[in-house]
């Protein structure tokens, strides 16, 4: 790549069709994960999100969202107890459809290993 030429972010050939498919995996009465799948007209996985939720006083709130939107590769957004995003961290690049699939596996492995740490960071808000 020419050093003067900015690197173009990878994007799916077709956008995901709406509505996305969502699967919810509760692991206790107060913690669950959501797997959201955005597939294109050919059934290819074009985008996804993995959302870590927790229930506080009967309300479900986001703790962390892993996704690949905006061509930024796999990244995670963390939210404080008021639902405000306080940080975004890049995790790994996505440059092809296989990376989309592999990135979803990676995000699921990561969120199920780090969900308690994510909750602690959400409580602290930084």
């Amino acid at each position: 790549m020419n050093a003067a030429e900015p690197e173009r972010a990878w994007a799916p050939e077709l956008p995901p069709e709406l509505p996305w498919y969502e699967q919810i995996f509760p692991i206790s009465e107060r913690v669950s994960y959501r797997q959201r799948l955005g597939e294109d007209a050919y059934g290819r996985l074009a985008e996804w999100a993995v959302v870590q939720m927790r229930r506080v006083e009967d309300q479900w709130q986001r703790v962390a969202v892993y996704d690949i939107c905006h061509g930024k590769g796999v990244h995670v957004h963390l939210y404080d107890r008021e639902g405000r995003e306080f940080t975004e961290t890049s995790l790994r690049p996505v440059t092809c459809y296989q990376d989309v699939e592999d990135g979803l596996d990676y995000a699921l492995e990561r969120v199920t290993r780090h969900w308690e740490e994510n909750e602690r960071r959400s409580d602290r808000g930084y």
Partner: protein
Amino acid sequence: MATRDQLRAQTVPAVARLARSRDFRSTFAADGRRQQTIIPVLPDDTVGYALDRLDDAGGTAVLVLLTDGVLRIASLTPASEARMVVAAEDDQVTPVHPDSRVDMFFDYLDRVGTAVVRRVAARLVDYGPLPSIPS
């Protein structure tokens, strides 16, 4: 030592990989809805725990037990009034104590196929090694 929540969380990546396959989604599609609840359970979780998560999900869910690479999957749906009447007449409403283990509940489903528990119709859908999902 891992907590029960941590142990359930450890099963989620494999279950989620399986659940995003088209076969799984079409098998458990409820009224064409594009949302499913899948409840991962441990062998010694109680039936009461599973039914509480089912209530949280609004009455329809897929129950998944993954142990040593073997999957057991049951669908849980609200039993219709007609189904309740027939089950009661045939003495087929299954008395399951909420403290009984979920693996024993799967053993029971393995024998009978379908059961009515409280107001829930439970049906064993699959039982076998965790399949590899082509990427």
